[in-house]
Every structure is written in structure tokens, then in C-alpha cells.
């Protein structure tokens, strides 16, 4: 995904993280970064990911558990909480409303570009 999408990605990152963690028992930062990149969110960097996870932890949406690393320092695992699942459901609904609103403002499909051109003219 191009860098132009980075602000959107950053805004939606907590929701994406909760969605990813909801499908797993627990995960850690590097694995989450890989999962998000595999899903097409290439713009996310460690500098953005870990603060977002720290914030989710402080908000009670995820909990932290330290486990053994692979020959290196201990690994910090994240697990979604019940509060996090409730938030995920709320945010999913809000995200759906938001994308529908944006789509309605932009018009539908290929007509949007034409509509914009007409307006400019």
C-alpha cells in the first residue's frame, strides 16, 4: 500500500490490531507487524506499532504477558481482553458507518472521478 495511506493506516491501526489479536490466543509485536504487512498494510513501522500496542494496553483492551524469547531477550506477548473484544465490536460498527459515509460523499465506483471533474469544471 502506498505511503499516501499512512495517516489512514495509523488511524485504523488500533482496530486492525484488535481484529488480528481477536483471531489468535496471543501474539507479539514483530509477528503482528508481519501479519499486518501480509494483509496489505505495508506502511506500518515499529515506531507506530509499539506505541499503539502500549496505548491499547493502558486502555485495558489488551493485556501483556512476558514469555521466553528465542535465544534473545524475553518476548512481550499481547492478548485481547473482554473489554478489548467489546471495543472491537463497537469500533467495527463505527468503522462500517464511517466507510459508508465516506463512500457516499465520494460517489460510487468510477463515477466519482468524473463527478469531481464535473464539479471542478
Amino acid at each position: 500500500m502506498p505511503d499516501a495511506h499512512t495517516p489512514w493506516t495509523r488511524a485504523a491501526l488500533p482496530l486492525c490490531l484488535l481484529g488480528t489479536l481477536d483471531g489468535e490466543e496471543k501474539s507479539y509485536g514483530y509477528a503482528l507487524l508481519t501479519r499486518l504487512a501480509d494483509a496489505g498494510l505495508h506502511g506500518i513501522k515499529a515506531a507506530t506499532l509499539y506505541p499503539a500496542l502500549a496505548r491499547l494496553e493502558e486502555e485495558g483492551a489488551v493485556e501483556v504477558e512476558w514469555g521466553a524469547g528465542e535465544g534473545g531477550p524475553g518476548r512481550k506477548y499481547y492478548r485481547i481482553t473482554e473489554e478489548g473484544r467489546a471495543r472491537l465490536r463497537r469500533d467495527q460498527a463505527a468503522w462500517g458507518d464511517f466507510t459508508r459515509t465516506v463512500a457516499s460523499l465520494l460517489g460510487k465506483g468510477d463515477d466519482s472521478g468524473q463527478a469531481a471533474d464535473d464539479t471542478d469544471a
Binding site: 507479539y28 509485536g29 514483530y30 513501522k45 515499529a46 515506531a47 507506530t48 509499539y50 506505541p51 502500549a54 496505548r55 494496553e57 493502558e58 486502555e59 501483556v64 512476558w66 524469547g69 534473545g72 531477550p73 524475553g74 518476548r75 512481550k76
Partner: protein
């Protein structure tokens, strides 16, 4: 609805008293908590004034609490780089040094004025008194620099300055005790006051940017230094408990181990910005309140000790003793307020 005033100067007229209070609080929070420049603050308030006027409702109702509004403005209008350079008080290390030394000079000026009123125009000095005053100035200066170094994330520097302050007290006391106490010179108090005034002016005139450079390490040569600096910033500048800060550092180190060869600066970016991002969660307010509580307790104890010392020396409950007792009580009250703030659940107020 009439046209609202469009001025962007401090004489912006708010029709309701609560709106005026709201605007004043936003202005103070922007300046003190986020270090926002005066011009930008006034621009922000002019925009808020317009919104409130058009909505026809009180500012807190339209725009939320002033603290939250100031935080949102700082997040949106001040660059991360600029916000990351300042601590919880919105000051950079250089500004802290200027403020601390300026205050030291001002206190010296006031004490000289009191001395003039109580003891007359001339004061006498001896080697012992010179050593004593030099010790006080050195110890206070080094202690202030220790706090500044802590806020700058230079934990080793902090311990260095703190050790220097202790050594200054020990060495200076010994010299003052051993030095002869006979009269060495007499000087008019206004001369000392002029010296204190010059010190104060010098502290504020000295460029903050130069001081900032002294407290900022050179660009990190390696990951180890980057990670050490991260821990220092989280603990010192953002008042994060040591265990929590080390947890973030361990996680970063673990990420770098997995990333295979990626430099910390490349993966995580500027260390000051990264530390700020990690510390901006809902627990920030409680951490800062706890930090302020420790300081308030320290000040309360300091004034209590001075009060007892003064009372023992004077042999009775003098006006000075009363003043120290009141100061100690005020700091106790402050500590109590911060303790309550630190115990409030996260999320009840926006992070400041």
C-alpha cells in the same frame, strides 16, 4: 446572529464568564503543559471563539474541557518533534536551566533586600561566610542541574550532578567550618543586589538552544546508546516507572533481534519522538501526578526541617518559623491533591 469579533489579540471578548474561564484555562494549559507559542495560542482561541459564538452555547459544551481541548490542539498543531523535546511542564532542558538559575538569582535578590531592611546598608563577610554562601549556591545549582538532566533523560548525568551537590555540601561545610571567621570585608547590600540581578538577567538572556545542546547527546552511534537514551527519556522526561520503561526497552531490543540488522534509529525513528509516543497513553496523567506528589512531599519535609532548625536556633516560635510551617503545610496540601489525582481511575480526565 451578529458578526463576532475577529481580533486575534488577548482582548478577545467572551460573552459568558464561564467561556472566559475556559479560554484562560486553555491559554495557560497550552503555554505550561505543551509549550505552545503565544501567537498560536491566540490563533486557536480566536477560532474557538468563532465556533462558540456561532453555536450560541457555552464553550465547555461546544468544545469540551479546556484541558482536553489544549491537548487536542497541541497534538494537531504542534509537530511531534517539538512536543517530544519538552517535558510534562512544556519546557525544554534549556528553558528549565534558565528558569532555575533565574529563580536562584531572584531569591538571592529578595534575601539581599530583606538583609538591607533588617541589618542595614552594609554587610560584612569572612572566609567562613564566603565559603558558606558559595556552598549553598553550588549545591542548589548542582541539584537544579540534576533535575534538568533527569528531565532530559540523562540519568547518569543526573546522578553525577546529584553526587556533585552532595560533595559540594560536604566539602563546603568542612571548608566553612575550618575557615577563619574574622571580618574580611564589608560591602554595600545594593552591590550584592546588583550582582543577583545580573545573574538573573544572564540566566534568562543566555540562549536556551545552546543549553539544550549541552543536555542532548550527539546522534546515537549505536543501538545500545539509542536504547539507553530511550530508557532515560521514559523514566526521566515522562516519569515512567523503571520496570515499565525497561519493558519497553526489552521489547524494542527483541524487535531488533528479530529484524536482523535493522538499526534502532531506522526502525523506531527519533528516540525523543518514540519515547513520547510510548508515554502518551491514559496513564500519563497518573504518572505525572505521582511524580508531582513526590516533589511536594520532598518540599514539605525540607520546610519542616528548616522550621525545626530555625525554632531550635531562635529558641522560640518566631515569624520565620511560622512562615516555614505554613510553607510546609502548603506543600503537604499539594501532595495530598496530587495523591488523589494519582489514584483517580484512568480515563476520567484527558491526559495533560
Amino acid at each position: 446572529m451578529g458578526k463576532p469579533p475577529t481580533t486575534r489579540t488577548p482582548d478577545l471578548v467572551w460573552t459568558r464568564e464561564e467561556d472566559q474561564d475556559w479560554a484562560d484555562t486553555v491559554r495557560v494549559r497550552l503555554a505550561l503543559d505543551h509549550g505552545v507559542a503565544f501567537g498560536l495560542a491566540e490563533e486557536v482561541l480566536a477560532e474557538a471563539h468563532q465556533l462558540v459564538h456561532e453555536a450560541g452555547r457555552p464553550a465547555p459544551e461546544v468544545l469540551g474541557t479546556p484541558e482536553a481541548y489544549a491537548s487536542a490542539v497541541a497534538a494537531e498543531r504542534v509537530s511531534e518533534k517539538d512536543r517530544a523535546r519538552a517535558d510534562a511542564h512544556g519546557l525544554t532542558p534549556g528553558e528549565h536551566v534558565s528558569a532555575a538559575f533565574g529563580m536562584l538569582g531572584f531569591i538571592g535578590f529578595v534575601l539581599c533586600a530583606l538583609c538591607w531592611i533588617e541589618d542595614g546598608l552594609w554587610v560584612t563577610g569572612s572566609w567562613a561566610s564566603v565559603a558558606g554562601y558559595a556552598t549553598v549556591v553550588a549545591a542548589v545549582s548542582l541539584a537544579a542541574l540534576a533535575f534538568v538532566a533527569r528531565g532530559a533523560g540523562r540519568m547518569r548525568g543526573m546522578w553525577g550532578f546529584a553526587a556533585g551537590a552532595v560533595c559540594a555540601v560536604a566539602g563546603g561545610s568542612a571548608v566553612a567550618a575550618a575557615a577563619p571567621g574574622e571580618r574580611l570585608f564589608a560591602v554595600p547590600v545594593p552591590v550584592l543586589m546588583a550582582g543577583c540581578a545580573a545573574w538573573t538577567v544572564g540566566a534568562f538572556v543566555f540562549p536556551d538552544a545552546t543549553l539544550d545542546r549541552w543536555f542532548t547527546p550527539r546522534p546515537q552511534a549505536g543501538d545500545a546508546q539509542w536504547l539507553t537514551r530511550l530508557e532515560g527519556l521514559l523514566r526521566g522526561r515522562h516519569a515512567m516507572p523503571a520496570a515499565e520503561a525497561r519493558g519497553h526497552v526489552r521489547e524494542a531490543r527483541q524487535h531488533l533481534a528479530r529484524a536482523g540488522g535493522e538499526r534502532a534509529e531506522d526502525a523506531f525513528g527519533d528516540v525523543e519522538v518514540y519515547a513520547m509516543r510510548l508515554a502518551e497513553g491514559p496513564r500519563k496523567r497518573r504518572r505525572l501526578a505521582r511524580n508531582k506528589m513526590y516533589r511536594a512531599v520532598a518540599m514539605a519535609v525540607l520546610f519542616a526541617v528548616i522550621a525545626v532548625d530555625e525554632a531550635l536556633e531562635a529558641g522560640h516560635f518566631s515569624g520565620w518559623v511560622a512562615m516555614y510551617v505554613v510553607a510546609s503545610a502548603c506543600w503537604c496540601w499539594t501532595a495530598l491533591g496530587e495523591w488523589r489525582e494519582a489514584r483517580e481511575p484512568t480515563g476520567t480526565q484527558p491526559p495533560r
